[in-house]
Subunit: 290 residues, 2 copies
């Protein structure tokens, strides 16, 4: 199974830490890591400095499945004094992958399963507790048109309990007002009406309940850490402060587990499916009309 | 006594909260608050959007002294997609006040003590724990040439104990490498050598020790809060999280007390003095040569 995950956000928001926490292993250091050769084109296109694309391929083996993960990192996004069109290389990259796949489909002899179509974009929002940054709003808007966008609140331990509720509402309001389309777990509610046995119906009900819980927590509040501490005899990933210990996998501390569940378990196939069947088809339609 | 304090940093870094915590009263809401009429000139000069200057006048009465505080806020700094020359209106403002004062000095009949020369700039650094943002480096460099610069680490509760030590070192290293001149409490070490009585000598030793402690903690790690909580029967300003309570005035949690001491007690007069005698004289010299 191939899963292409793009991570977007300014530097210092804990993206690398999050990815490492997600896989509980320092994948960036131990796997093949190369930079796209054609990032030079973007540099010419949008000016002296711009966002680069870095792809890290790694294999994730988790109990019953073996996942070929392609991590698409975007260093440079939002890091300059002038960040005009910082999203453009990202948007172009997504289109390029659709284009590449389209050409492959049209070949009589198809290439190996080379497929870098972006299945999910985890977008890191800075936890200012105010309005979102103009660059972030426009980037989310542009990218949401082309692929599954999952906005998250980076370093959510910056926000107190009340501030977090407040900020989540502000982000949701902004997403509605700007009509930014974000990925939400599908609720197959018609599944509970068909004539299924009780077990299957109950499972569906639980799945729907879980999906609703995920949706209610969005945008997910994310805290990441590669350091482990002992709590009640168990080792937990966390961040240690003079005033307390944050536990990354504690659901009353942050939504890390919810995002992990969405990305790698409950909605992995939905993300891949909607990319291939909806976003990609949308691109093809527009391209073939031109 | 007039004290002019400029506060610089992107929005969301807790500047307003810090000021309010500093005076334990919501001064921004209760005092005269007006915007400089001539910010329009800057808007024409540097393009469509830019940093504004907002001045809030308030009187601080603390035990034995009565301080006329002019708070110079800089909304808009660093908040746009393109932040080119975001520091320029700030730098111009500082020069304008020197210029204004110079003209007053040259008048036969001097105006009332109108003096908005900036005595201290508290510069809020984003706690990324990485390299500092390019805009912040250049702003600090430019402003440090004209007035007393005091860089602080904003929202330092984002950084764990080890990360904070790390980041302070990174910031100091960057300040050295870029030759950014920051304000440090003077150490009048010759005072302990003169023939003074033992009490005075001891006081001077304590003062030097205090100044050294301040210098060692720089850049100050700042946490602010207007909310109060009860701790051991006392009311303290703090931030409440599911994993603990941060106490703003607890010196093992942050350097808030050190900065307050520097600004309003131990080094208030040094800040005013060095502005009037060193920075202002520097400006006059350059202007009179032209
Ligand atoms: N407060 C806080 N700091 C974090 C969190 N995750 C990472 N960090 C710290 O933020 C700094 C930058 O993290 P990094 O993952 O390199 O950010 P990136 O530039 O977005 O990849 C590091 O010092 C991390 O330890 C978090 O959830 N909360
Ligand atoms: N984590 C953290 N949050 C803070 C701190 N100070 C203020 N905040 C929060 O950050 C948000 C923005 O603060 P504000 O003072 O308005 O920032 P300003 O735009 O720089 O003036 C508010 O929700 C504050 O409660 C702090 O020291 N640490």
């Amino acid at each position: 199974q191939i899963f292409n995950l793009m991570v977007v956000g300014e530097s210092g928001l804990g993206k690398t830490t999050f990815i490492n926490t997600l896989f509980q292993t320092t994948i960036k250091e131990r796997t093949t890591h190369y930079e796209r050769e054609s990032s030079e084109d973007y540099i010419k296109k949008v000016g002296a400095k711009t966002t680069n694309i870095e792809i890290t391929r790694c294999v994730l083996e988790e109990k019953s499945f073996n996942l070929k993960l392609n991590l698409i990192d975007t260093p440079g996004y939002g890091d300059f004094i002038n960040n005009n069109k910082a999203w453009l290389p990202l948007s172009d990259f997504i289109d390029e992958q659709y284009d590449h796949y389209m050409r492959q489909e049209q070949q009589p002899f198809r290439n190996s399963k080379f497929d870098l179509r972006v299945h999910a974009i985890v977008f890191f929002i800075r936890p200012t507790n105010g309005t979102m940054k103009p660059l972030d709003i426009i980037t989310m808007k542009e990218l949401s048109k082309k692929a599954n966008l999952i906005p998250v609140i980076a370093k959510s331990d910056t926000l107190s309990t009340t501030e977090l509720i407040d900020f989540k509402n502000k982000v949701r309001k902004c997403i509605d007002e700007k009509a930014i389309h974000i990925f939400t777990p599908p609720l197959f509610e018609d599944d509970i009406n068909s004539n299924l046995d009780e077990d299957t119906t109950n499972n569906n009900k639980l799945a729907i309940q879980h999906a609703k819980q995920l949706i209610e927590s969005m945008p997910f509040a994310i805290i990441g850490s590669e350091d482990q501490y002992e709590v009640n005899g168990n080792k937990v990933f966390g961040r240690k402060y003079p005033w307390g210990l944050i536990e990354v996998e504690n659901e009353s501390h942050c939504d890390f587990r919810k995002l992990r569940s969405l990305l790698l378990r409950t909605n992995l196939l939905d993300l891949i499916h909607s990319t291939n069947e909806i976003h990609y088809e949308e691109y093809r339609k527009v391209r073939l009309q031109v």
